[in-house]
């Protein structure tokens, strides 16, 4: 579905990605793991066209690197950014409708209404709080809202940046369960996580990034099992990396 070859990205003189190749198959949950500064978020932003990158990114056979960000959303890729970035003064319902800003036309209105109900079924908490302003939601609810908003664009591939960041363990479990549920409903997922254990426990495959390079890749169960090896590669960052925060 998504194929990335030799992706390079720079912030000024500093290389954030130094030749990353990876892929996501239809229906998979793939986890990108690695410590701070490994290049995980840059990779997601490069896919979305938010960061200028060199290399090859193909989504369902089409090269994405020349496509502007809104064109990428229109092709079926939505990102849930790190730190949620919801519109705090707006209500939950307004936030969700904004997620569908690219979908216009009368017929689309009916579909959008149906999708709104789908998001509410996925996250009943959002239905309960649909008239509340987003800023008053708890961290977990805000994460649900951010995911819900991305889903309103009807993505085929959902990119999640640190969905467990700053959340209590019990809330993390809820979010992860929702991600597994989404996959069952046909959404393919590429997820960035520092919390490797959590991400690998629901993912099919994983890539371990370090300083903009892929050091290890393989079935998630294998990487989870081999966390000793992962530690060997990530050195002292390991604790921060797998044991959560």
């Amino acid at each position: 579905m998504l194929q990335i070859r030799n992706l390079f990205a720079y912030y000024g003189q500093i290389a954030a990605l130094s030749g990353v190749s990876c892929h996501v198959n239809q229906g998979e949950i793939v986890a990108l793991i690695g410590a701070n500064g490994a290049g995980k978020t840059t990779l997601l932003n490069a896919i979305c066209g938010l960061v200028h990158a060199r290399g090859k990114v193909t989504f369902q056979g089409e090269n994405l690197l020349q496509v502007p960000p809104e064109g990428i959303v229109a092709r079926g890729i939505s990102q849930v950014p790190e730190g949620r970035q919801i519109f705090a003064p707006l209500t939950v319902a307004d936030n969700l409708e904004l997620g569908a800003y690219l979908r216009q036309g009368r017929r689309q209105r009916q579909e959008i209404a149906a999708d709104l109900q789908w998001v509410y079924t996925l996250f009943p908490r959002l239905r309960e709080r649909r008239q509340q302003t987003a800023g008053t939601l708890s961290g977990g609810e805000q994460q649900m809202l951010a995911i819900g908003r991305a889903l309103m664009a009807k993505p085929r591939l959902l990119l999640l940046d640190e969905p467990s960041l700053g959340l209590a363990p019990v809330i993390v479990d809820t979010i992860m369960a929702a991600i597994v549920n989404l996959r069952q409903q046909g959404v393919t997922i590429l997820m960035v996580e520092q919390n490797a254990r959590t991400a690998l426990s629901i993912a099919d495959r994983g890539y371990v990034l370090e300083t903009g390079r892929v050091l290890l890749s393989g079935p998630a169960a294998e990487l989870l099992h081999d966390h000793q090896v992962t530690r060997a590669y990530l050195g002292k960052d390991y604790k921060e990396f797998t044991e959560g925060r």
Binding site: S21, V214, L216, Q228
Partner: protein, 418 residues
């Protein structure tokens, strides 16, 4: 049987997978192994420079001498505490070959060896008997692990003599025999002397490993037991059996290119050989973590055949091994360098190395190394009794150190090469 579409969806996806794995292997080798970092730096190349599979030709080679120089742990890419198996074999250079495996490497290797058995049609209901010489202990263990992983009932290798092995084969109703071509022929001879016939056994197939198999020998073994024959190619430095395995439709082997990248190069220049041309097989590991090898020169001469295979297996085909581009030769599946024999003679004779000649011979199916040592003045000084002791000690030395069977003759003048 195996559904290859499950294993390898398409050529394009396989090549992306290979590239991903190659790049992460190079990143790890460069980051973790001093030898590779220096080698890459000397050639002014960084892992990020390799952006498609053919560009691998820009990387330097790794040789058996490099393995020997970095004895024992110099090429390991993980700390020893992550290594769960340290496997040695005599090798063909000064030092033994040491290969490390993490727990993950072993799991993946077992799966790959099981895949090779599955592709040969071996399943849970089979009784697999492994008969290999002590010199092939590593192969015997890997094949046992793979067959057990598959769920077959395995009779591991043991030190029973050939007659007892045949008794076990008959009484335990062995359906798959794993052995070398030499041993298979020898078993047939022993069988005849015991008055046993093919109908006494439940054997369905033989998996013949470690030695090249000529069509005549294949025919002889297949007819002797009324069985099908499968073969495998592997080398100890790159894990072992399961690297490449025979296909029912063709000579040669399917190469496990999802985990190992094969290349054929011109031995003299190291340049890529043209498609279909015979050259030296060079292997890069893609999935191993403890002992990554970058462009390892195997010394085996063969071809790569990219055309699709009627068996449906999408893995590229390796032709038969037609020879070697170095002086290494195989005695019953064990690789030996002539220098190792010369060193052994020097050790036995306390520093003296008389002229000698090596020749392979067969007796009742088994392969022996015949060593003729030419008598000279230093040797003449000894009494006949001592001369006998020399040949006895040399035989024992080679058996203990290399695991090969030899016959030593002290001759007045070495017979001219036929």
């Amino acid at each position: 049987m195996l559904d290859w579409r499950q294993e390898i969806p398409s050529r394009e996806e396989l090549e992306l997978l290979q590239l991903e794995r190659l790049q992460s292997t190079l990143n790890r080798a460069y980051r973790q192994v001093k030898f590779y970092r220096r080698l890459f730096d000397d050639h002014q190349i960084r892992p990020g420079d390799i952006q498609d599979l053919p560009q691998i030709a820009r990387l330097p080679f790794t040789t058996r001498a490099d393995l020997s120089h970095n004895y024992p742990y110099g090429l390991f890419a993980v700390p020893l505490r992550e290594v769960v198996r340290i496997q040695s074999s005599p090798g063909t250079a000064a030092n033994p070959v040491v290969v490390g495996y993490t727990a993950g490497d072993l799991r993946f290797w077992r799966e790959l060896t099981a895949r090779f058995f599955r592709s040969a049609g071996v399943g849970k209901d089979d009784i697999v008997q492994i008969i290999l010489s002590a010199g092939l202990t590593n192969w015997a263990r890997d094949l046992k692990d793979g067959a057990e992983h598959l769920g077959a009932s395995v009779i591991p290798f043991s030190n029973l003599n050939f007659a007892k092995q045949l008794m076990v084969m008959r009484d335990y109703k062995t359906s798959v025999l794993v052995t070398t071509p030499s041993y298979a022929r020898h078993l047939l001879e022993v069988m005849a002397t015991m008055g046993l016939v093919a109908a006494d056994f439940s054997l369905k197939q033989a998996v013949l490993v470690a030695e090249p198999l000529t069509p005549a020998v294949r025919q002889e073994i297949a007819a002797g037991w009324h069985i099908t024959i499968n073969t495998a190619y592997g080398i100890t430095e790159v894990m072992g059996p399961g690297l490449a395995f025979s296909c029912p439709h063709n000579d040669g082997f399917h190469f496990s290119e999802d985990h190992f990248l094969p290349e054929i190069v011109v031995p003299e220049t190291g340049a890529p050989a043209s498609p279909g041309e015979v050259g030296e097989l060079v292997i890069t590991t893609l999935s191993t973590t403890a002992f990554p090898l970058v462009r390892f020169r195997t010394g085996d001469l063969t071809t790569l055949q990219p055309e699709a295979c009627p068996c449906g297996c999408p893995l590229i085909r390796l032709g038969n091994i037609v020879g070697r581009c170095d002086r290494i030769f195989s005695v019953g599946g064990i690789k030996v360098h002539p220098d190792q024999i010369a060193n052994a003679i020097r050790e036995i004779l306390a520093g003296h190395t008389p002229r000698h000649r090596l020749r392979l011979s067969r007796d009742a199916g088994l392969t022996y190394l015949d060593i003729e040592i030419q008598m000279d003045e230093t040797l003449f000084a000894d009494e006949v009794k001592c001369l006998e002791a020399i040949s006895r000690r040399l035989r024992r030395h080679l058996r203990e150190n290399l695991g090969i069977d030899s016959r030593v003759a002290l001759v007045e003048k070495i017979s001219p090469t036929p």
